[in-house]
Symmetry: C2
Subunit: 287 residues, 2 copies
């Protein structure tokens, strides 16, 4: 049985707490959040057992400490929790970018602690906060671990086992490779969805547009309801990959615009067909 501490009690931290409790893997859950309201809700909902006044005291006596903060707060959270960690404590993050997190942890500790495990659960919703957390959030979803050179095998095995106990499928990959892949599957789509809705709000007929939106619009823009702070942090933390892909996307759109203006319709149709075929071919792989 594990004693868990969650630093940052939001959707992911709260859901992991609920899921590990439901799986019977934790004996005690402490938490810290800079927003006391999250703590109050977490206690009220039975998600956590104790809300601490600071990060370090929430981590004291914990076997596993999870940093579940927006990625740009990783260094600050690690620094704050540091005094509460023992030699045995496993420290894990759940951030959507991995190169920046490994860099932040290295800066705080002087090197990458053997018992630090970098994790990224590929699960979430556009909702935020502990009130939106649920124990089934990770079931059937991937969790990517990006082990580092000095990784303690026991810590890695424990983290893998915890995620598997909540129904996740654990895969391992290199941190840089992770950031390139998730810039494409997740970070860029968020930028594109925000940009699309933002463009609409600036149109002269904006007031007529939203009432006439249908199901396609709702799904296409769902991720534009995600936490702006969280996604600002992710884009900023992974800016080299995201800007590279955004440039490619602008290039693709300029090509499509030229096809439309030059009335090269068969080529436009070919692009649509290629996209549909790729999505359909890979659909079974999408969780």
């Amino acid at each position: 049985m594990t004693r868990l501490a969650v630093i940052g009690l939001g959707l992911i931290g709260g859901s992991l707490a609920r899921a590990l409790r439901a799986a019977g893997r934790v004996s005690h859950i402490a938490a810290y959040d800079r927003d006391p309201e999250q703590g109050r809700r977490g206690l009220e909902l039975g998600v956590i057992d104790r809300f601490a006044g600071d990060a370090a005291s929430s981590a004291r006596d914990a076997d596993v400490v999870v940093l579940a903060v927006p990625v740009l707060h990783t260094a600050e959270a690690a620094e704050a929790v540091r005094a509460g960690l023992s030699d045995r404590t496993i420290l894990m993050d759940v951030g959507s970018t991995k190169v920046s997190v490994l860099g932040d942890i290295t800066r705080v500790f002087g090197d990458l602690p053997a018992r630090f495990v970098a994790a990224h659960p590929i699960a979430g919703t556009e909702k935020s906060g502990v009130a939106a957390s649920r124990s089934e959030l990770f079931r059937g979803h991937r969790v990517v671990l990006t082990p580092h050179a000095g990784q303690d095998p026991g810590a890695l095995a424990t983290v893998r086992s915890l995620w598997e106990s909540v129904g996740a499928r654990v895969v391992e990959m290199d941190a840089a490779c992770h950031d390139a892949i998730f810039a494409a599957t997740s970070h860029l789509p968020h930028v594109l969805a925000y940009a699309f809705v933002d463009m609409l709000t600036r149109l002269p007929n904006a007031a007529d547009i939203f009432p006439n939106a249908g199901g396609g619009f709702r799904d296409f823009t769902r991720i534009a309801s995600s936490s702006p702070e969280m996604w600002h942090d992710i884009v900023r933390a992974n800016r080299v990959e995201v800007t590279g892909l955004l440039e490619r996307q602008i290039g693709e759109l300029q090509e499509l615009l030229a096809l439309m203006k030059d009335e090269r319709w068969p080529e436009l149709l070919m692009r649509f067909e290629r996209a549909r075929a790729a999505r359909e071919r890979h659909l079974s792989q999408i969780e």
Copy 2:
């Protein structure tokens, strides 16, 4: 009781046939499609009563004839069905663009027939074909009618009543206004979704990308599984509105790219916040 003829037996034509039958509004349903396989499936599934060898003979004796073809086939379908129409026949389309349809119908008939009613149901899925049709497709969704100057009020009332009987909420607007609105809510998002997936297929690490896509990706790209031919037709038929918005969208993305490159992060966050707030504010209006 109405005798119905459906020209183009796909998702929308098939669903309207099923829905009107379920509502007890039709006594007989004939259909024509250039693909005999759709006719065979339509008969097998009980969606239609008769599959005709040509469009005009399917329309003979019908009270209401529905053109449910990709929008660029409107003129061809109207021409083909023309000999089967009487003075009493109501002719309706279900196309996603309205200015082009009114132009096509005018060219075929020499003017806009009083008993032609332009309609656009804001419903659909990314699936195609009569096998994907379902009687509940329109329930709770909007149908936009764009009446023209010489519109027969009785034909308009009949069409309104048919859509309401299948659970749709009917609104009326000007055709040009319709095309500007739906370029924003529907046509451009399809172009953006196709362009995004197409860009990914051209990346060197494309094979690693799709298996790591999650729920956000799935929803954001769902409309990229829509019929390429149908959306090619819509974009082409509404190219002035769509290219204008695509230019705006490229401009928005270039602004975001500049914010990222210049590290003007608070401004990026402000854009994300503005987009999220707009979507959340209007969410209750989205069907």
